[in-house]
Amino acid sequence: MEKDPIIEVKQLRAGYNGNTILEQVSFGVLKGEVFVIMGGSGCGKTTLFKHLVGLIKPVSGSIIIDGDDIAHGDETLLRKVLRKIGVLYQSAALFNSMTIAENIALPIREYTDLSEKSIDTLVKMKLTLVNLDGYENYLPSEISGGMKKRAGLARAMALNPEILFFDEPSAGLDPVASNELDNLIIQLNKNLGTTMVIVTHELRSVCHIAHRAILLDKNKKGILVDGDPRYLRDHSTDPMVKAFFNGRS
């Protein structure tokens, strides 16, 4: 694992219509790391996530992804950065008017000059990777929630981005499906060296997959603690951290 930070967030302040939700948030994500953002409901995880993928501009501070500051750059720079990332949304956000295969082919067709036949083969390979072979021609409305998540993952990985972002990947999945998704994440991280940034509540999966985690807090409007989740779970002395990991207050 190389030790360069691929994402650096510095002194980020974020909010909506003048309400500050997060302030003085700084952290870095190393290349090849599985990085988890945790926190109680309403503490700003989704807000932070949307900032990281460029959907919202911060009030102040910078977000540097692979050397480019998306908080201050222009449209062209943002597009360049977006090419390096893939996003799996909480609702999978598959395009409902397209089949699974077309969903996955969309970015490939846009950004490469592959022939239709090669794209077809590539899509099949991606679907096999997420255990969805045979579902090429299904519409998103015709598959289950867990399958949608996996199809969304296949689409997010279509161009093998350097960084994958996940918003609550296991929300709404049964323990088995969520475990499968976790294993898939671990495999991808191992085999392709993809950096992963994951927002999640699932403590079990955090300890299973994460190399490092940050815990956001609503009252502090920022990071409560930053470190290896297994270490934090077993050794943290901070009462709030303990409360979070033990599910008690």
């Binding site: 949307k50 460029g54 977006l82 990332i85 996003v87 949304y89 956000a93 970015p107």
Partner: protein, 378 residues
């Protein structure tokens, strides 16, 4: 102690104690089924008697939930506003637990939902309106940029989508547009013939139908139909994509949502609606012809030659030009409303409605502007 009334699930006894105090002994359940009865009953009792002390005995209360607690809270408030005292006795532990949760609602934390003052509401409306206008202007900008980009990079244009929208907006609308225009031509011819016949000017029915339809009714009718069919569906489509994070997904996949979603729709409408208008003109003239031949006994060839004589190319092009502008407005408003949603399913409905209403409004307003331009400048 004198029992006043009894019912299945609850009962109570009210007795008076010395010095203007009242003692209520409650029995049974205090829940959603009897809360309002209890409040009314004891409330009117308090109002009549003005007791200085109200004591409520909960010893025999078997069940009390937050509705029951509400009764007690309301009675307490009534007593304190009457200047009396209130006390609970013999409450069991479970009951105390519910009451405890009720106690957390401190009086000052229950802010009454005062209707905001006129100024606040006007200010709020103006701010919202300003935000709308700001969004509108930035949307115009981003649509123009998207078109410029597509023009400079024709390969980036989503041709497949454009063709699909051309079919949905144009081809699929042809039957209804044709039928309605035919009927409209029929009606116009019929109504005008009643007047024109008095002067023996039957033949001018042909001119009237041709001019009226190609200049005014054809473009307007087509535009209104397109607004209802396609404007609404554009709005609904984009709105649904927006609330299911699909627009976000497009963005992070590096697609510019305006370019991807809006350009094909606007382009398709602007191409196809003028053609639809031409069809509408044609069907209306056919309708007029039908009346002319069947009712007014004009020969088909006379009707057609009269039509050709009075209808100039300018009239037809003027109508077609107008309909292109209407098409631009309809598709633009549809997309704008779609992007403006936030929230759930209800906002999709609102977006659709407002897309149709505002585009019909815009169509009529801009048609008036066209009429003025035609009258004074051309």
């Amino acid at each position: 102690m004198k029992p006043l009334s009894k019912s299945e699930s609850y009962g109570y006894e009210i007795s008076e104690v010395e010095a203007g105090g009242i003692y209520i002994f409650l029995r049974g359940r205090m829940d959603s089924s009897n809360a309002s009865q209890l409040i009314d009953l004891f409330g009117s009792f308090i109002k009549d008697r003005h007791p200085s002390l109200l004591t409520i005995d909960l010893k025999k209360v078997s069940y009390l939930d937050d509705f029951g607690a509400l009764v007690l809270v309301e009675l307490r408030d009534m007593m304190s506003s009457n200047g009396g005292r209130f006390q609970l006795v013999n409450a069991r532990e479970e009951v105390l637990y519910v009451l405890h949760s009720e106690n957390r609602i401190r009086p000052n934390s229950l802010i009454k939902a005062h209707p905001p003052s006129v100024f606040v509401r006007y200010g709020d409306a103006i701010l919202r309106y300003a935000a709308d206008v700001k969004y509108l202007i930035s949307f115009v900008g981003s649509v123009c940029l998207a078109f410029a980009y597509s023009f400079l990079h024709p390969r980036s244009l989503r041709l497949d989508d454009t063709f699909i929208y051309m079919q949905k907006t144009g081809v699929d609308a042809l039957p209804i547009v044709g039928l309605l225009s035919f009927l409209l031509g029929l009606i116009t011819a019929f109504m005008s013939s009643v007047q024109l016949q008095q002067f023996g000017a039957d033949i001018y029915v042909a001119s009237l139908v041709a001019l009226g339809m190609s200049r005014e009714l054809g473009p307007i009718m087509t535009a209104i139909l397109v607004a209802g069919r396609s404007g609404s569906s554009f709005a609904a489509e984009i709105a649904t994509m927006k609330i299911s994070e699909e627009v976000d997904a497009l963005f992070t996949m590096g697609f510019e949502p305006t370019r991807y979603l809006v350009v094909p729709k606007i382009l398709a409408s602007v191409i196809v609606v003028p053609i639809l208008t031409l069809f509408s003109d044609l069907f209306a003239i056919l309708g007029g012809l039908t009346v002319g031949v069947l009712v007014l006994n004009i020969t088909a060839s006379a009707y057609i030659s009269q039509t050709l004589m009075d209808l100039t190319l300018f009239d037809v092009f003027w109508g077609v030009f107008k309909s292109a502008v209407f098409a631009l407005q309809i598709s633009w408003i549809g997309c704008l409303r779609g992007f403006r949603v936030d929230g759930g399913a209800a906002s999709v409905g609102r977006a659709t409605t407002s897309a149709v209403v505002s585009s019909i409004f815009l169509i009529i307003v801009s048609d008036s502007v066209f009429a003025i331009i035609l009258r004074y400048w051309i």
